[in-house]
Amino acid sequence: MAGPEVKAPPYRELPVPPAVQPGAAEHIKSFVANEKIQEAIGFQGKLDDNWQETHDKAIAHFGDLLTKFRSLRVYMDSCVHCGACTDKCHYFLGSGDPKNMPVARQDLMRSVYRRYFTTAGKLFPSLVGARDLTQEVLDEWYTYYYQCSECRRCSLFCPYGIDTAEITMAAREVLDHVGYGQKYTNEILGKVTKIGNNLGLPGPALEDTLLGLEEDVKEETGFDVKYPVDVKGSEVLLITPSADFFAEPHIESLIGYGKVFHAAGVSWTMSSMASEAGNFGMFVGSYDLLRKIALRIREAALELGAKRIIVGECGHAWRVAYSFWNTLIGVGAGGKDPFAIELQKQLDPRFKQPTHICEYTWDLIQQGRLKFDRSANDHRVITFHDSCNVARASRMGDYPGGQFDIPRNIIRAVANNFVDMAPETIFEQTFCCGGGGGVLSDDLMDIRVKGALPRMEAFQRVVDDHGVNFLALICAICKAQFTKVVPYYGFKSSVIGGVHQLVSTAIKLGNEQ
């Protein structure tokens, strides 16, 4: 790919926002989806030749979204340009491009909203910063709405809770609708809807991979840990991101889940039909795709008859599972309609549905059903990165903030050396890894490296002060992103790993061990 060489920005000497550098990131644009990719998921193939047609379709679709999503409607009207969010986005902090400030990113769309949907913007466009939708504006949407990882850090700090993720999703939905989609995300959406997972790994290949994994674990531990697929009547259905099946270090966590189920003596299975926890439908703001992709999980659950649905380590997948599954596919409690009841009566009501693998493991630890040799992790000094979608868009456990404590509790239960990064970079204030929300594409490497800056600064500090050598994660995208990006900051990829990788290292599978 042409363009400047990707280099990590230098660490900031003082923790202050960078000076505004207009246009600093405008050259970073991901590949556009071709017609085949677009049409495979029901979007228009390409932009119309006639601009007016594109313009009219985009405005009409924008108007439609305004009637369907309260978030979009309220957020378009509520911003006062106070500036509270301007230094909160990791992509701005890393690039200095002012259009990566949340308010400015929102304004790319808000300016068009004002022009077409408000009296003030219709009458006095230049007064209120309203502008016509032109090809240039649409290009700008494409560039900067694919430099947003939908991490919601801005929504935490906005006095009105304006969530740029909602606006990014709406903008991408409009772009897709007029035939201007992103190759990376939409290609994956095609794979998951056709084959069942984001990697396009067909059922037989999946079974092969898992058989190989069983052999490896047997060789290493001497125990027959199973990694079953499509076993009807299993107690637990595990839905995990497909990267867990063979990407490093993801697979180490999958090995860990299997060991936890083995040690607990619980029957479990994965599904070849629903071999993907991730749901990129959320990234492009398409309720239809979001629902369609989630429905595979409902079908798999009904077919396999599982009593519990447990979700593996993945940030946005956990958001979709925790926050949206009850709405989309009736996995959860409280539904009174036949659609919801059908699944509710199958699932065990004693447990929260769905359950995060960390909730599950922590539960077993508290019950004393798992035994660990914590010294097995003594070669590691561990810190934990809160994934944005877990931290700010979902929960674990039965109290707000459980999503911060539970993974840390597990780490402390399985290892002796744990330190946290600076308080303003963890918990709900956590920085995105820089690769979430559809940005995890090689053609966006430049912004991915820049966006990782605030996290890497905080990581560097615990490396320097405490000798940290392991960044524990609970998200497939974080794992993939950091593995690729930390070398730019002078670290080896092996500092990256999963929480259940730590569990896997320390867990005792039998008494004789």
Binding site: D77, S78, H81
Partner: protein, 240 residues
């Protein structure tokens, strides 16, 4: 001038009320199909009421994000609240006792209000990030509010106006019985700017006032696993 201001205030009041009502109805009628509270979020309705109260009474999120903006914004908004309460005496006869008690506070709050506005405006020039996002209307809005504040303070502390006459005028308006408005330049400026503010309110960023109550990231309960939350248009998808 009396007639001009009488008509202006009737129009302004109508635009303000109807415009705002239309917007609020639109906010309320637009469905929120997915649960998107910014977490950690309260798990009960009572918790959400508290969260919202902290947000509108103390600007909790702003406090966490930027202390300078919080100081100026809090000074402006809280002072404005005191000033508005103080002005109730022009619309009530006899004046309610707690409004009478509040008079001196409301009087000096005027200075805090102007100082807060000046601080907010200074940021629009001094901080490069805020300068970048500021539009002409952002500046004009601050100018308008400052004019209201300064003209009000002028009448209180420099050139007194006939406040008994002003009160008669507004009590008259409320009973559709138009009384003469004292002829005073600062008063004209003050009243004209207020009417303008009421008129632009429903069409401007001042919609943040009702907007915050409808913000799904702040007003939703974190109970996704316990309650099924579904919008009417989304429920229809399940019938095919």
């Amino acid at each position: 001038m009396t007639l001009f201001f009488a008509i202006l205030f009737y129009v302004a009041a109508a635009v303000f009320v109807l415009g705002l009502a239309t917007k609020i109805v639109a906010f309320a009628r637009t469905p929120a199909p997915l649960l998107i509270p910014t977490t950690p979020a309260p798990t009960t309705k009572g918790g959400v009421v508290l969260r919202m109260f902290r947000e509108v009474a103390f600007f909790e999120s702003l406090f966490k994000s930027n202390l300078w903006i919080w100081i100026f914004a809090a000074a402006f908004h809280f002072a404005l609240a005191l000033v508005l309460v103080r002005h109730l005496r022009y619309f009530t006869q006899p004046v309610w006792s707690w409004v009478a008690f509040e008079q001196p506070f409301g009087m000096y709050a005027g200075f805090a209000m102007v100082a807060g506005l000046a601080g907010l405006w200074a940021r629009r020039f001094l901080v490069d990030r805020v300068r970048y996002i500021s539009t002409l209307s952002d500046h004009l809005m601050l100018a308008l509010l400052l004019l209201i504040g300064i003209s009000g303070l002028t009448m209180k502390f420099l050139v007194h106006t006939d406040i008994v006459g002003v009160k008669m005028f507004f009590l008259g308006l409320m009973h559709f019985d138009i009384q003469p408005l004292p002829a005073d330049a600062p008063l004209y400026v003050h009243l004209f700017c207020i009417a303008l503010l009421m008129i632009v309110f429903p069409f401007s960023k001042l919609l943040h006032a009702p907007g915050v109550f409808f913000s799904p990231s702040r007003n939703q309960v974190d109970n996704a696993r316990d309650q099924r939350h579904i919008a009417s248009w989304a429920a229809k998808l399940e019938q095919n």
